[in-house]
Symmetry: C2
Subunit: 255 residues, 2 copies
Amino acid sequence: MRIVAIANQKGGVGKTTTAVNLAAAFALQGHRTLLVDVDPQANSTMTFIDLRQVDRNVYHVLTDARTPMEAVVRPTALPNLWVAPARIALAKLESQLVGELDAHFRLKDRLKPIADRYDLILVDTPPALGLLTVNALVAADAVLIPIQVSYYALEGTEDLLETIQKVKQHANPRLQVLGIVVTMADRRTVLARDVIEQVHRTFGPLVFETVISRSVRLEESPAYRESIHTYAPDSQAAREYQALAEEVLRRVQTG
Amino acid sequence: MRIVAIANQKGGVGKTTTAVNLAAAFALQGHRTLLVDVDPQANSTMTFIDLRQVDRNVYHVLTDARTPMEAVVRPTALPNLWVAPARIALAKLESQLVGELDAHFRLKDRLKPIADRYDLILVDTPPALGLLTVNALVAADAVLIPIQVSYYALEGTEDLLETIQKVKQHANPRLQVLGIVVTMADRRTVLARDVIEQVHRTFGPLVFETVISRSVRLEESPAYRESIHTYAPDSQAAREYQALAEEVLRRVQTG
Ligand SMILES: Nc1ncnc2c1ncn2[C@@H]1O[C@H](COP(=O)(O)OP(=O)(O)OP(=O)(O)O)[C@@H](O)[C@H]1O
Ligand SMILES: Nc1ncnc2c1ncn2[C@@H]1O[C@H](COP(=O)(O)OP(=O)(O)OP(=O)(O)O)[C@@H](O)[C@H]1O
Ligand SMILES: [Mg+2]
Ligand SMILES: [Mg+2]
């Protein structure tokens, strides 16, 4: 198991923050890691790379058979971490690939030739269950679902699980749910305790033990083009994403 | 000017929280207000209505000419506030209306027969610049853009402004930007000061004076099916959304 998609169609739940800080944690532990960004907002990309220097990107790879994935993959300041960048052009993908028989398999097909070069591949997705997220689910071995401490949080997960089941049935039989991580939790609040309890009741053993607390450090680190592990290495947020990285690796290896 | 869309394709920036608390503020001031939810996640809807009791919804109105908008509009616990509910079925709209010449005009056409019954109509949108958000922009007189205090916040606004310009040129010449509201601001942080300063530099007089602070009360209130104005009437959050409602009304009336 090597390719993990990070998905939840609810907006702003911490998909990018989780993708970025897990990818960096793996890289710092010596695992060769590729972070693929299929969100047109390109938030994962801009965390490590100056968007103005990105020209060809995942959009070209998914629409032009002459552009292989390796042509757009770029190194980052972190050894062992590479990024396949996104740009806003990706927003056109859905209308461009309407009717194409392999529309859902493009990412899977384009990752195949390079997958062996990496120990782990993470895919950051946009807040929607459209063609881009489906491409990530078809390409992935497993999906990690961040759920924010929010009243609205649990409402959307039924649709996500339904979409995962459909992908599993029709396009990717090996797809599993790797786990659920609760994010942005301020444990002092009743809301946090309620949501954490509800998530455990709904998902049971799928829920990661590590809960990610709300932390200003996590909000600040992208502005310095750093992950939490180099921006604030002694912070609670860094420890939590380290712990999550270890839990994820254990599940990936025994998957 | 009566129809205001609340839009920003970045996820989790406070679109629903702003739609819900502005709509309630207008209703409590005696303005007949309709809150239209075109987000398949239906977060605005579930803030006032039990989703299990919602059957026909905006999806049916936009796809079936025999279902007028008035057939799905429902009263809420608040006098003067009605909701046109969303359901997950809306996620299929884009693929269902591909190729239809009037695909972008459905919401505008379906609101026309009932628009006069309300003093104000707010439209909550999903985190994407797809057909649903475009429908809202075509139907609207103006668009209110929430921007969260976040490093990623300003990156996506160029694309949103571009989309607004395109809609203005090809489908809705009266569309204006009503204003930009900064949300989830913890004024003690450097990040908040940086983002607020950048938003003013980028948008100048379009920025509302009212800034919405981060507040647990705002996260809790939807769980009680209440807006902030009845859940925590003396809170800073209630005062801030009251002040924002007044600024919005001033701009709507002079628009
Ligand atoms: N644990 C946390 N504590 C505080 N802020 C956080 C935390 N996790 C994420 N954030 C902040 O919340 C905002 C949303 O997070 P992020 O962009 O990672 O979510 P997302 O799910 O990727 O959003 P989108 O749906 O737009 O892709 C960002 O400003 C981010 O910095
Ligand atoms: N000022 C605030 N202080 C604290 N929490 C807030 C504030 N505004 C919104 N929130 C919380 O942040 C989360 C995201 O807000 P909301 O759902 O309104 O954003 P959205 O833009 O509508 O998201 P989506 O892109 O998924 O539609 C919710 O849990 C909400 O309760
Ligand atoms: Mg993201
Ligand atoms: Mg919303």
